[in-house]
């Protein structure tokens, strides 16, 4: 495989090459990793990654379906990454985000990819960061990352993106208390979708007042907007808010800071990966040590371990 050639095709915006490269990095194929290393500096440095999260069923895909029109019209290339859960039992995954995203077919300057979360505990697949980097090398201006709104995904999405939109519904009212510690802290914009239903104003008020309390004295208070993806209500207003927050974050250096933190975290993750894989190789030779405690085995391994940073480390596991 000629990764130089693939990169040439990237510059011609060849979606076939893009999609095949995403498969390679999603599977942690050595070619994919080589590609990320070689073309890291060719990424679009000003790509903004926007996360969209929220509990299941609040209409994240439907909302995204409306928003993509604004992005497609205002930017030269927008990518959408939609993450769905994998079954912990079979490993299979039913990726259905496209069901609600018919607008993506109206624009040629959009690219959509569904990703299965696979073994990852949070709502994102562990290879999400790599996929996003490939999309940056493809020179996407905007990457929209939609996540499964369960468990730890809130934190995951915050780490891989530059700003986060939290989507709720009027019925979320009672549960916001419970969500407070997770979702309330990571949102940079709060959206109350399905505003055609009863109770949306109350939720907006509640969110506004609790955000004001939480963020007292800070120079940024996340805006709260009620929309109806179904009726197309307030979508343009939401888009304007997204642009405002994005520009504010760029101006204040918030995005630059996030990028640098993210890079450190990524290095840590890669190192952990290398260590764990090297340790696993050692462990294979250590199977029948019945007379030693786990601590003693660990110490022995630590003394003799040879951490390998070679191509084959990515092929293991």
């Amino acid at each position: 495989m000629d990764i130089e050639n693939i990169f040439q095709k990237f510059q011609k915006r060849d979606k076939n090459s893009l999609s095949r490269m995403i498969t390679l990095v999603d599977n942690e194929d050595p070619y994919g990793i080589e590609f990320l290393k070689r073309f890291y500096t060719k990424r679009n440095d000003s790509t903004v990654r926007i996360g969209i999260t929220g509990p299941p069923g609040v209409g994240k895909s439907s909302l995204l379906n409306k928003l993509v029109e604004n992005f497609a019209k205002n930017y030269s290339f927008t990518s959408i990454v939609a993450v769905d859960p994998s079954s912990p039992f079979t490993g299979g995954s039913l990726l259905g985000d496209r069901l609600r995203m018919d607008n993506i077919y109206k624009f040629e300057n959009l690219f959509t990819r569904s990703v299965a979360s696979r073994g990852s505990l949070g709502g994102l697949s562990s290879s999400t960061e790599n996929i996003l980097q490939v999309l940056e090398i493809f020179k996407s201006d905007i990457i929209l990352v939609e996540t499964v709104g369960v468990g730890q995904s809130e934190l995951d999405v915050m780490e891989v993106t530059d700003m986060v939109i939290v989507v709720l519904v009027p019925e979320s009212g009672d549960s916001i208390q419970a969500l407070k510690s997770g979702i309330m802290e990571i949102g940079d914009i709060f959206v109350v979708n399905k505003s055609d239903r009863e109770g949306s104003e109350r939720v907006v008020q509640y969110l506004n007042s609790s955000l004001k309390m939480k963020k007292e004295g800070k120079d940024f208070i996340p805006p709260v907007i009620s929309v109806s993806a179904k009726e197309g209500k307030n979508i343009d207003k939401l888009y304007v808010e997204i642009e405002n927050v994005k520009n504010f974050f760029i101006e204040k250096g918030i995005i630059a800071r996030k990028k640098s933190l993210r890079k450190k975290k990524e290095v840590r993750d890669i190192l952990r990966d290398i260590f764990i894989k090297s340790i696993d190789i050692e462990l294979k030779n250590m199977e029948n040590k019945k007379d030693l405690s786990p601590y003693e085995i660990a110490e022995k391994i630590f003394q003799k371990i040879d951490f390998k940073i070679s191509e084959d480390i990515w092929k293991e596991g």
């Binding site: 999609s19 995954s93 039913l94 990726l95 569904s114």
Partner: protein, 133 residues
């Protein structure tokens, strides 16, 4: 990392009978595959665009409307135009035997008629994938 089979299950045409497609989609998921399900009324253009963007190994079409002799060849042609003939196109629905034979001659994979079990579809895909590698 173990490579999972990725399949696009789509329902082209105007009829609304998507039960079959849904049953197959969930059977493939249960068999450990990653399934993209796009729902009703997909055009061949949308199907092929999705297949390319998602980089799937196979496309399964469910056609009950009688449009199989139009839709299957159209999808095949679009895959060819986009240099993705490597993607397997298979399907199911109400398709007369002689049409099945003709479609298979054109390069369409196996077509499953009424009464087929989901296990047959799963086994077929797994075998095909194994041989492809």
């Amino acid at each position: 990392m173990e490579r999972r089979i990725k399949v696009l299950v789509a329902k082209p045409g105007l009829d609304g009978h998507d039960r079959g497609a849904k049953v197959v989609a969930s059977a493939l998921t249960d068999a450990g595959m990653e399934v993209i399900y796009t729902g009703l009324h997909q055009t061949p253009e949308k199907i092929v665009r999705t297949a390319i963007e998602e980089d799937v190994d196979a496309i399964g079409l469910s056609i009950l409307s009688g449009a199989h002799m139009t839709i299957f060849p159209k999808v095949l042609k679009l895959l060819k135009d986009n240099k993705r003939e490597d993607i397997l196109l298979f399907g199911g629905g109400i398709i007369p035997k002689e049409d099945m034979i003709e479609l298979e001659k054109m390069g369409v994979g196996k077509l499953f008629g009424p009464g087929s079990s989901t296990k047959e579809v799963v086994d077929y895909l797994k075998n095909w994938f194994q041989n492809k590698k």
